[in-house]
């Protein structure tokens, strides 16, 4: 096995090559620029920010959809990471400026104008490392050995981080990026430190510089600028009516130094964003909006089916050494060179007939269909109907499925494919078990139940039943799927029934099959 440090070094080198190719020398305009956005209206970008936006690194985000394949189901969700990044800039400015104004009146410089300028740059760059169809490709490259050595159990320096956060760290700490920043400083008086920027984006600042942790929370916290933009933007473009009282949220946010003793198990003084009691409703709205988006958009079965189809392409290309956009998939860094537009255009350019077919099916919306639906209502445990053991076992199984790794899911999918008589290719059968709604960040948000000058802290979960809501989602709305090509549903469906039924000792009922188009023959 290779030395993990070597793997990290190699990955950093590969990412630096990408940064070198996508940054170049800054082209700083003579004047600031004004940008209009459908959601937030007009905002002004400083000269150095325009220079950053004008790099290929940032322009690349125009070619990454914000919500992946959702546009094949919700036609107007064609918004991109580019728009989102500008939206996060807007939200960062609003929240940071509200805090600056509030504390300036109290003669405190706890949020300085210099730091706001730096935060704005971090906001622009926070998604610069996303791969094609963002989280879909991340699901693949996060399993690569060199990435697991960094983010997996006892990972070297990045344990618990997401794979795209690691790539962002390597971009921002690369020599080409440092040179770019130095180049900016020749034109604009700036105090920008790449390491600080990456600490804010990854949230490491909370650990490394706890008395400035509040800056990181503006961009990487429970009600951060990233969340506020994507909730409104995804809701707006999908047509889902969502709402968060932003004015109240900006006004009710406070900054306090939480000390050991203020909160159980709090290790050392840390300056954090804290919500006044009057802002609790806004946080409740954020959580509710996130639940709605998850149920209606992120976990929509058609969108999940597309994700599986794309993952099939990536795995096929990696396993068979097939190039995409002229590049083999060898490391996580290769995904930085891909965009949604580039990958989909391979449907017409690739010479590999299998890749051509797989990508054409996505482009022409010939999507996988459901062969089996797994939900709490969809199966029984034989012999346990007389007591509550059945429901216990069911819940336990569903939770177990959510925890399966990509490799385990692929193993099950291939077993189903073989049991069905190997119709088509093995990449055309997929299992999909989406994770539940993320809630821990909001649950541990501090609420000030005292006063500004004599605060008392409680966690938000004391006011809102966050944990119960997330569990209800799993009980009532969560769906796992076995997907396959429409013409194979009739064969894959009974095979999935047999294979999964035998492995997990369960009997699927009509709810598992009713949503499936068992007669589909296209």
């Amino acid at each position: 096995m290779s030395d993990p440090t070597d793997s990290a070094t190699q990955l950093a080198r590969d990412v630096a090559k990408f940064a070198d190719q996508y940054l170049g020398k800054p082209q700083v305009p003579r004047t600031p620029k004004v940008i209009h956005d459908a959601l937030w209206g007009t905002q002004r970008l400083h000269r150095h920010e325009v220079a950053l936006v004008d790099t290929p690194l940032f322009q690349r985000l125009r070619r990454l959809h914000q919500t992946g394949f959702s546009y094949l189901t919700y036609p107007s969700t064609t918004h991109t990471r580019f728009e989102h990044s500008l939206g996060v800039l807007y939200q960062t400015e609003k929240l940071a400026r509200a805090l600056h104004d509030k504390y300036s009146e109290l003669n405190s410089d706890v949020v300085s104008l210099d730091r706001i300028r730096q935060l704005r740059v971090a906001a622009l760059l926070h998604d610069c490392s996303h791969g094609p169809f963002s989280h879909t490709s991340e699901e693949i490259y996060s399993t690569f050995p060199e990435m697991q050595e960094l983010i997996g159990p006892r990972g070297k320096g990045f344990e618990g981080s997401s794979a795209s956060e690691v790539l962002a760290y390597f971009i921002l700490n690369s020599e080409p990026f440092k040179e770019f920043i130095e180049g900016l400083k020749e034109h604009v008086a700036l105090d920008l430190n790449p390491r600080w920027l990456s600490s804010v984006i990854l949230g490491n600042l909370k650990k490394d510089d706890p008395l400035n942790a509040h800056y990181a929370e503006i961009l990487n916290g429970p009600f951060d600028a990233d969340k506020l933009d994507y909730i409104f933007r995804d809701g707006h473009y999908s047509g889902l009516p969502l709402g968060v009282d932003l004015d109240r949220l900006w006004l009710a946010t406070e900054i306090h130094t939480v000390k050991p003793g203020d909160v159980p198990d709090f290790p050392k003084p840390m300056r954090r964003l804290v919500m006044a009691r009057s802002g609790i409703n806004s946080l409740e709205q954020i959580f509710s909006a996130r639940m709605n988006l998850t149920a209606s958009l992120y976990h929509h079965h058609k969108i999940r089916a597309c994700d599986c189809m794309l993952k099939a392409v990536f795995l096929y290309c990696r396993e068979n050494g097939v190039k995409l956009c002229g590049r083999r998939i060898d490391t996580a860094a290769d995904f930085l060179h891909f965009t949604d537009v580039g990958i989909l255009s391979e449907a017409e350019r690739t010479k590999d007939p299998n890749v051509r077919e797989m990508l054409s099916n996505i482009v022409d919306r010939r999507l996988f269909k459901r062969a089996l639906v797994i939900s709490m209502n969809g199966f029984e445990r034989p012999g346990s109907e007389q007591d509550d053991a059945e429901s216990k076992e069911k819940y336990n199984l569903v939770h177990k499925l959510i925890g399966t790794t990509l490799a385990e899911q692929r193993k099950l999918a291939v077993a189903i494919w073989e049991a069905a008589g190997k119709p088509g290719r093995k990449e055309e059968v997929w299992l999909d078990f989406p994770k539940g709604v993320k809630s821990k960040d909001l649950a541990i948000t501090f609420v000030n139940v005292g006063h500004m000058d004599t605060p008392m802290f409680r966690t938000l979960e004391k006011f809102i039943p966050i944990e119960q809501w997330t569990k209800q989602y799993l009980l009532q709305k969560w769906r796992g799927h076995v997907f396959c090509k429409p013409e194979h549903v009739a064969k894959i469906s009974p095979a999935a029934n047999d294979v999964l039924g035998k492995i997990y000792n369960i009997k699927f009922n009509e709810y598992a099959f009713t949503p499936c188009d068992l007669d589909a023959q296209r």
């Binding site: 997996g152 159990p153 949230g203 706890p210 509550d388 944990e467």
Partner: protein, 140 residues
Amino acid sequence: MTTAETIRPEDVVVGLLAEVKQRMGSDRFEADPVGMHTRFFEWRDRPEFSNLFDLFVFDTRDYFPYSETLDRVLDGLQLAGYLERTNPRGTYYVITQALENLFESNVKSRFEGPQLKALEALAGKFVQGIKTDRRAPVKR
């Protein structure tokens, strides 16, 4: 007979809670997520316990080491009814008889002798660090 099956995070948590219930003289203890994640993180670095925690991932960027792995297991045990959280405030975790049965019937055999000893030692440490509710009945 012991087997060398892979020890999963859920096995460790089930084993620990079953042993905890035996020791604390109550079936419930105060739900303190921060304390629980912190303890698991500290135990992972102790050589005598470390192999029980090989599959746990911790994010140490915030004020306590948060493990999504541990959270997933605790949520799963609650959804399955093995571990309950008292309503309406969720103040206490209640370890059910079903969890003890699960440990005895399905989980214990996954551990080897030294691992079971380690679990017992961990349970002892865990009980020292939690608030229990002794008014509650042991048998439910």
